[in-house]
């Protein structure tokens, strides 16, 4: 594990140690993951479908409870949290989802503001009485993603690329200290995919937020990530700079060689 070197903490801002998850006892999806992430930069996790990439990043924000192991974020434990402590941890971590996962029947603005639910009491959200500072922040982000004119449109009227940009705004309005992205481009065309990953990198970079992104597209990972982690069968089999990823690594991650050009 080389890339923790650029972090002020010896190990990194986010540290996973001996992390395992088995949905069915005896059949672990991820096994003994030891990883450390620095406080900046984009890390891409690549690997075949079903190898536990999603499970790994969902353990970080507690959507999945790991079977064993520990996660430390800036020195504080994320594992084993419940109730209010879990919610307080989640609001520090933004997440961009695979199929956008916007609430389709709500407007773009309501979707972006839903990112503030960790801070705003439920009754205020219900009455749509969000603090003005949250609304200002939401408009700033809508400007940044180029969808300010769509604020009052319903989310289900948007195209896939537009929806995912709203998904990014929803994650960033949380003012997170870490951004997770779970296959954010898997339902998008190649051009839009590039734009989305570029947008994530640019907005997170401007705010100095580290990004962990699960991605199928190796080329996109190479192009935008500073660090690449390759997983196969629930274990880390490659961890290094994007520039150091070779065909033999890809063969080890995905198996076989005939598909590599």
């Amino acid at each position: 594990m080389t890339s923790a070197a650029d972090s002020p903490d010896a190990r990194g801002a986010l540290v996973l140690s001996k992390l395992s998850k088995a949905y069915v006892a005896g059949k672990p999806v991820i096994t003994d993951i030891d990883l450390a992430f620095s406080a900046r930069g984009i890390t891409a996790i690549i690997g075949p479908s079903g190898t536990g990439k999603s499970t790994l990043i969902r353990c970080i924000n507690g959507l999945v409870t790991p079977t064993s192991g520990e996660i430390l974020f800036k020195g504080a434990r994320l594992t084993g949290l419940t109730g209010q402590a879990l919610r307080a941890a989640r609001r520090r971590i933004g997440m961009v989802h695979q199929e956008y996962n916007l609430v389709e029947r709500l407007s773009v603005m309501e979707n972006v503001l839903s990112g503030r639910l960790g801070y705003v009491p439920a009754w205020r959200a219900w009455l749509r009485k969000f603090p003005q500072s949250d609304i200002d922040r939401a408009f700033e982000l809508l400007d940044a993603i180029g969808l300010a004119d769509f604020a009052t449109r319903r989310a289900d009227q948007l195209s896939g690329g537009q929806r995912q940009r709203v998904g990014i705004a929803r994650a960033l309005v949380q003012e997170p200290e870490l951004l997770l992205a779970d296959e954010p481009t898997s339902s998008l065309d190649p051009k839009t995919s590039v734009e989305i990953v570029e947008l994530i990198g640019r907005l997170a970079g401007a705010r100095d937020i580290p990004v962990i992104i699960n991605i199928h597209n190796v080329e996109l990972a190479r192009r935008f990530a500073t660090r690449i982690i390759g997983m196969a069968q629930g274990r880390v089999v490659f961890d290094g700079r994007a520039a150091d990823l070779r065909d033999r690594h890809l063969a080890e991650i995905y198996g076989g060689e005939s598909w590599i050009e």
Binding site: L63, E104, L106
Partner: protein, 267 residues
């Protein structure tokens, strides 16, 4: 995978016949024939019935529009509409929490099964039977009818509402949960927006159905036009019966149009 490996075999079944399904249909057909034979339904009786029905209809025409009758009619009809609206309002309001508590993907199993038990109890009797119970409990009049229809509304709306919640998109809910939202935050922003349009649809349908039922509960003493209708039948005022039926049909049609409009607005 050589060519030689392809030994000619029996043709592969693309659309295999389901003998179980066929047996089911045959059993249903046989039972229908059996039930028909035991109930002594004969063609002769049917023809005689048609004849009597014609006489009955002849006695109904023309509808009775005497002012005194119309006053009686409007008083009963207004009471029926009031019963329907009040019962729908209270019943639907109670269905909202009951439906949420019955959704298995939202609450612990013990809670949802309890709520499902209550819903099943509400649904187990026809509104008229529930109305008889309430007439015994609170006496004759509109209150008994309202209470009976509240029970019916809760049974119907909360059951369908719970099913709508169970069919919602859980990924959208999870995305809201991932922001650090509380249970109530998830409910208001992640769950309700997905299902509220269908809930309004169920409520509109229930208003419709309560209007129809509110004309029924009167027959057993639950107030409304039903009592007027029943009295008219018993006094052989068939021309007044026709007037009442026409007005009921008109009111139901208007409510049908109104509820369709309501559903469209909330889509």
């Amino acid at each position: 995978m050589s060519e030689a490996a392809q030994v000619p075999t029996a043709p592969r079944a693309a659309l295999p016949a389901s003998w179980l399904r066929r047996a089911g249909f045959i059993a249903l057909g046989l039972y229908t024939l059996y039930a028909f034979s035991t109930l002594e339904i004969t063609f002769d009786r049917f023809v005689r019935g048609l004849d009597q029905g014609a006489k009955f209809l002849a006695r109904m025409w023309p509808p009775n529009v005497e002012p005194s009758k119309l006053a009686l009619l409007s008083q009963g009809m207004i009471e029926s509409i009031q019963i329907a609206v009040l019962a729908t309002f209270v019943g639907v309001l109670l269905s909202l929490p009951l439906g949420l508590l019955a959704a298995r993907n939202l609450v612990p199993a013990a809670v949802s099964w309890t709520a499902r038990g209550i819903i099943a109890l509400c649904r187990s009797f026809h509104p008229v039977i529930v109305a008889i119970l309430f007439v015994k409990a609170v006496g004759f009049g509109a209150l008994a009818g309202i209470l009976a229809l509240i029970v019916a509304s809760m049974g119907f709306v909360s059951k369908l509402f719970a099913e709508a919640i169970e069919e919602m998109n859980l990924k959208q809910v999870e995305a809201v949960r991932a922001t650090g939202a509380t249970f109530w935050g998830v409910l208001f922003i992640g769950v309700l927006p997905q299902v509220i349009a269908r809930f309004v649809g169920f409520a509109a349908y229930q208003l419709d159905s309560n209007l129809r039922n509110s004309t029924m509960v009167g027959i057993v003493g639950g107030g409304g036009i039903g009592a007027t209708l029943f009295t008219a039948y018993q006094r052989f005022d068939y021309d007044f019966v026709l007037t009442i039926l026409i007005v009921i049909i008109a009111v139901i049609m208007v409510s049908e149009i109104a509820s369709a409009w309501l559903r469209r607005v909330f889509q």
